[in-house]
C-alpha cells in the first residue's frame, strides 16, 4: 500500500550501526528505496514498537525482546529470521601480553584488585551472554565481585581503552585498534549470539520484506563479515 | 464622608478606633506607634482587621459583618506611603503615569503636578538616583495622578525641606477646596495640622483619644502635644483689606487683626492660628510697643500647664484666645477668672 518513495524505517540495535549504514547506502542505489535507521538499545526500541512506533523492520540484539514482541503479535512471525551472529571476546589493552587460554586461566588472579568491565550482566545482551560464558567456564564465582557493569558494551570497551580496567568482555565486532583480543569465548560457553530480524505487522510489510531479503543476500553477508559479524 | 470603625489585635497592640471623617481634610495625629498607619492600611484594604466597617460616601469598602471587602484596586483611594514604595524598574515619568491607564482621565494633569512638585528635571531619571526628598515628591505625584476619590497621605512631607513643605501644604488644601477630594492626612507636625485640618483625630495607643475641629482639640494641653508651641487658638477670618505697608487686615469675629501680607484676595476666608505662647497679656492698654494687635478680653478660665506656667483662656472680640504665661506673671498682674485684660499679639507671629 505504501509509496515506493517513502523510506522504510528500520529500528535496529545500535551495535549494528556501521554495517547497516553501509547496507542502506547500497540498497538505496540498487533498489531505489531509502532506509531510515533508528538506532538505540534493543529494549528501548522494542518498547517503542509496543507503543506503536512507526517501524517497518526491527533488528534486535537478542532474542528476548523479539520474543516479547512476537507474544504481542506485533511482528509478522513468518518473516522472523536471524540476520547476523556475533562472538564474545575478552579484550585487554594493546600493550598487554599475548593471548590467554581461558580454560586454564584464573581471570580473578589476573584482575587482582582491578575490575573486569562488562555490560550490565542481567540486562544488556552482551552482559547476559558474558555472564553465561563465565559461569560455563567456572569463572563466575571468583570474578563476580570484581565486575564493573556498564550500561552498554561500548562503555566497557572504553574502560579498557582508558586503562581503568585491564580486561573487558565485548563483542568481536567492537574490536578496535586500541585494544587487542586476549581470548575468544567458545561458542558453546553461551547461548548463540544472534540478531533476529522481523517485519512489523503494522508497517510497510512489502517493502520491509524486500529489504529483509536483501539483508540475507550473500553480497550483504560479505558486508556483515567485513564488520566482524558472522552470519548464521 | 468616610465612616471608619476598626478593631484588630497585632501582637501586644490593639487597634480599636471609630471615627468619621467629614468632607475636608482629616488629620490623624498621634505618637509613633499609636496605630495611624494601621488605620490607613485598613481603609485602603491592605490590611484586614478582625472587625472593620469602612464606608466612603455611602459606598461600603469594608464590612466584616457582611463579609464585604472591596479589593484595593477598586477602592480608588490614592495612598502616599510613609516609605515611598516607588517602582524602581520604571522611570520617574512612568511612576507618575502609572495610575493613568487604570483610572478615567481626571482633573489632575501630569504637567500641573510635575510643575507643582518641581520634578520636571527628574522625569527621565532612574528612581534609584533620586534623593530622599525627591523620591517623596514623586510618590506624592503618583498618588495624585491616579485621580483618587479620596487621598490617604501617611506623613507625606516628613522628608521635605521647609520651603518645599510650605509649597506643598497649600496644595493639599487646594485639592480639597477646589476639587473636593477628601484627604486623610497622617502627621506628627502641629503646623501641618493647623494649616490643613478640618477635623483632627488624635490617636493614642490604638484608640481615638480625641477628635473634632482643630480649634477645639488644640485649645487645651494634652499628652499628645507635649510641645507647648502646639497649644493655641485657631480662628476663622475674612481678608478685609491690603495696606500699602505690606500688612493685611483681617476681619475676625467682631474684631480685626493685622497680619503680614497674604496672597489671598479681599473677601477670602482664611484661618489664623494664634499660638498660646505668642500672646502677651497686660492689665492696661500698652503704649509705644512694636506689637500692632492689641485686643481687649475677659479671662474665662485658668488652667495649670507646667510647674512654671498656666494657660489663660480669654473671650475676645476676635473669638476665644489662649495665652500661656508664667505663674509669676499671673501673680504679678493679679489675674483671675473674670479679669479684663489686653492681649498683645505681634503681627509677625501670625500667619493667615
Amino acid at each position: 500500500p505504501a509509496n515506493q518513495d517513502d523510506p522504510i524505517t528500520v529500528f535496529a540495535a545500535s551495535s549494528l550501526q556501521p554495517v547497516l549504514e553501509e547496507v542502506a547506502e547500497v540498497y538505496a542505489i540498487t533498489n531505489g528505496q531509502r532506509i531510515t535507521l533508528s538506532l538505540a538499545g534493543s529494549s528501548t526500541l522494542a518498547r517503542q514498537i509496543e507503543q506503536g512506533a512507526p517501524a517497518d523492520l526491527f533488528i534486535s540484539a537478542n532474542r528476548g525482546w523479539m520474543d516479547a514482541l512476537a507474544a504481542k503479535n506485533l511482528i509478522v512471525e513468518a518473516t522472523r529470521v536471524d540476520v547476523a551472529a556475533n562472538r564474545l571476546i575478552l579484550i585487554s589493552r594493546a600493550q598487554n601480553p599475548a593471548p590467554i587460554d581461558l580454560s586454564g586461566f584464573s581471570l580473578a588472579t589476573a584482575l587482582g584488585d582491578q575490575r573486569l568491565a562488562m555490560a550490565l550482566v542481567d540486562a544488556v545482551p552482551a552482559g547476559i551472554y558474558g555472564k553465561q560464558a563465565l559461569k560455563h567456564l567456572g569463572l563466575w564465582e571468583a570474578v563476580a565481585p570484581s565486575i564493573a557493569q556498564t550500561d552498554n558494551v561500548r562503555a566497557a570497551l572504553r574502560l579498557v581503552v582508558r586503562g581503568e580496567s585491564p580486561y573487558a568482555i565485548v563483542y568481536a565486532t567492537d574490536l578496535d585498534p586500541r585494544v587487542r583480543v586476549a581470548a575468544i569465548f567458545p561458542d558453546e560457553s553461551h547461548s548463540p549470539i544472534r540478531y533476529p530480524a522481523a517485519v512489523m505487522a503494522g508497517g510497510n510489510v512489502e517493502a520491509a520484506v524486500d529489504f529483509l531479503k536483501f539483508l540475507q543476500r550473500d553480497s550483504t553477508r560479505e558486508l556483515f563479515h567485513k564488520h566482524g559479524f558472522t552470519t548464521p | 464622608m468616610l465612616e471608619v470603625s476598626l478593631q484588630h489585635r497585632l501582637g501586644g497592640f490593639t487597634l480599636d478606633a471609630e471615627f468619621t471623617a467629614p468632607a475636608g481634610i482629616t488629620v490623624l495625629f498621634g505618637r509613633s506607634g499609636s496605630g495611624k498607619t494601621s488605620i490607613v492600611n485598613s481603609i485602603a484594604g491592605l490590611q484586614q482587621p478582625t472587625q472593620a466597617r469602612v464606608i466612603l460616601n455611602g459606598d461600603t469598602l469594608s464590612d466584616t459583618t457582611n463579609g464585604i471587602h472591596k479589593p484595593t484596586h477598586a477602592r480608588r483611594l490614592g495612598y502616599i506611603f510613609q516609605e515611598g514604595r516607588l517602582f524602581e524598574h520604571l522611570s520617574v515619568r512612568d511612576n507618575l503615569r502609572y495610575g493613568q491607564r487604570f483610572n478615567p482621565a481626571g482633573r489632575l494633569g501630569l504637567a500641573d503636578i510635575v510643575e507643582l512638585l518641581g520634578i520636571g528635571d527628574l522625569q527621565h531619571r532612574n528612581i534609584r538616583t533620586l534623593s530622599g526628598g525627591e523620591k517623596q515628591r514623586v510618590a506624592i505625584g503618583r498618588a495624585l495622578l491616579s485621580q483618587p476619590r479620596m487621598l490617604l497621605a501617611d506623613e507625606p512631607l516628613a522628608a521635605l525641606d521647609k520651603e518645599r513643605k510650605a509649597e506643598l501644604l497649600p496644595y493639599f488644601k487646594h485639592l480639597n477646596d477646589s476639587l473636593g477630594i477628601p484627604v486623610l492626612y497622617v502627621t506628627h507636625a502641629t503646623d501641618e495640622v493647623l494649616q490643613l485640618a478640618t477635623t483632627v483625630i488624635v490617636m493614642d495607643d490604638g484608640k481615638v483619644a480625641r477628635q473634632g475641629e482643630p480649634s477645639l482639640v488644640f485649645a487645651q494641653p494634652s499628652a499628645a502635644f507635649e510641645d507647648s508651641r502646639d497649644i493655641g487658638s485657631v480662628l476663622d477670618a475674612t481678608v478685609d483689606q491690603h495696606h500699602d505697608d505690606g500688612l493685611t487686615e483681617l476681619q475676625v469675629g467682631a474684631g480685626r487683626l493685622l497680619v503680614p501680607e497674604t496672597a489671598s484676595t479681599t473677601g477670602t476666608q482664611v484661618r489664623v492660628r494664634i499660638a498660646a505662647q505668642d500672646v502677651l497679656l497686660a492689665r492696661s492698654r500698652p503704649q509705644g510697643l512694636s506689637a500692632l494687635n492689641v485686643l481687649s478680653g475677659t479671662i474665662e478660665k485658668l488652667e495649670p500647664h507646667s510647674s512654671s506656667s498656666v494657660i489663660v483662656h480669654l473671650a475676645s472680640p476676635v473669638g476665644p484666645l489662649v495665652a500661656r504665661i508664667t505663674r509669676r506673671s499671673l501673680q504679678n498682674l493679679g489675674l483671675e477668672q473674670g479679669t479684663n485684660v489686653f492681649a498683645i499679639i505681634k503681627t509677625v507671629a501670625l500667619e493667615a
Binding site: Q17, T36, R47, G52 | H73, Y98
Partner: protein, 229 residues
C-alpha cells in the same frame, strides 16, 4: 555552512528548533506554576510541586517511558491527541515535549525563587493606584522577576540542548526527524571509531549553549543597566 556536513546540519537545526520551542512553549506554564506555588495556597499544592520535580528525580529513561505510555499513539492522552491530529510520539514535536518536561523543574524553581523575592509592598502600591491583580502582575511582578525568568529560560534551554535519556526513549533516534545532538552523539559512541564524530557534535553543542548563555548574560546586563544605571 560548509564546515558542517548536511547530516550534522540537520541534527543541529533540529536540536535548536527543539530546544528553542521547548523553552518558549513551556515558559508561560512555568511562570504560571511558579506563581501558583509561590503565592497561592491550594489543595494538592505539594502534589503539584512534587509532580513538577518528578523529571529531575526519575532516571530520564523512566520519564521517557512514562511519556511513551502516556503520549504514545496507544497512550491515554496520545490517543486522544491523535484524534485531534496532534501526534507527538516519534516526531520532533515529541522531542520538544520531552525536552520541555525535563527542563521544567529547573525553569519553575528559578522563576519561583524570584517571585518569592518580590516585595509585596510594591504590588500593594500598584493596587492602590487602581491596578487590578492581572495588571499588577503584568506591570510590577513580571518586570521584577525578569532575571528569574531569564535564568529559568537559559537553564531550560541548556537542559533541552543536552537532554538525551527521555528523548531517545520517547521519540527514538530517527535521523532528520527525532535525532538531536545528544542522541547523535550517543549513536557515534556506540560504534568503533565513532569518537571523532562524537567530539565534533560535542563541540557544536558547547558552542550553541555557550552562545545562548553569553547572549542571556549580555541581555541581563543590558536590562540591569537600563534599570539600575
Amino acid at each position: 555552512m560548509d564546515w558542517l556536513s548536511a547530516a550534522e546540519w540537520s541534527i543541529v537545526s533540529l536540536s535548536m528548533k527543539v530546544a528553542v520551542l521547548a523553552t518558549l512553549l513551556s515558559l508561560p506554564f512555568g511562570i504560571f506554576i511558579a506563581y501558583a506555588l509561590a503565592r497561592w495556597e491550594f489543595y494538592g499544592k505539594q502534589l503539584l510541586n512534587g509532580l513538577v520535580h518528578l523529571p529531575l528525580i526519575l532516571p530520564p529513561v523512566v520519564t521517557g517511558y512514562l511519556l511513551l505510555v502516556t503520549f504514545g499513539t496507544q497512550g491515554v492522552i496520545g490517543g486522544w491527541l491523535a484524534e485531534l491530529g496532534i501526534v507527538l510520539a516519534f516526531r520532533w514535536t515529541g522531542a520538544v515535549l520531552a525536552a520541555a518536561i525535563m527542563a521544567f523543574p529547573l525553569m519553575v524553581r528559578a522563576i519561583r525563587l524570584s517571585i518569592e523575592a518580590v516585595d509585596l509592598h510594591l504590588e500593594q502600591a500598584a493596587s492602590t493606584l487602581g491596578a487590578p491583580p492581572w495588571q499588577v502582575f503584568r506591570t510590577i511582578t513580571l518586570p521584577l522577576i525578569l532575571p528569574g525568568i531569564g535564568a529559568g529560560a537559559i537553564l531550560a534551554f541548556a537542559k533541552a540542548i543536552g537532554e538525551f535519556g527521555a528523548t531517545i526513549t520517547f521519540v527514538s533516534n530517527i535521523p532528520g526527524q527525532t535525532q538531536t545532538l545528544p542522541t547523535a552523539i550517543y549513536t557515534f559512541l556506540q560504534v568503533p571509531d565513532g569518537e571523532g564524530g562524537a567530539l565534533r557534535l560535542v563541540i557544536i553543542s558547547i558552542v550553541i549553549a555557550m552562545s545562548a548563555l553569553l547572549l542571556s548574560e549580555y541581555i541581563a546586563r543590558r536590562v540591569a543597566q537600563s534599570v539600575g544605571g
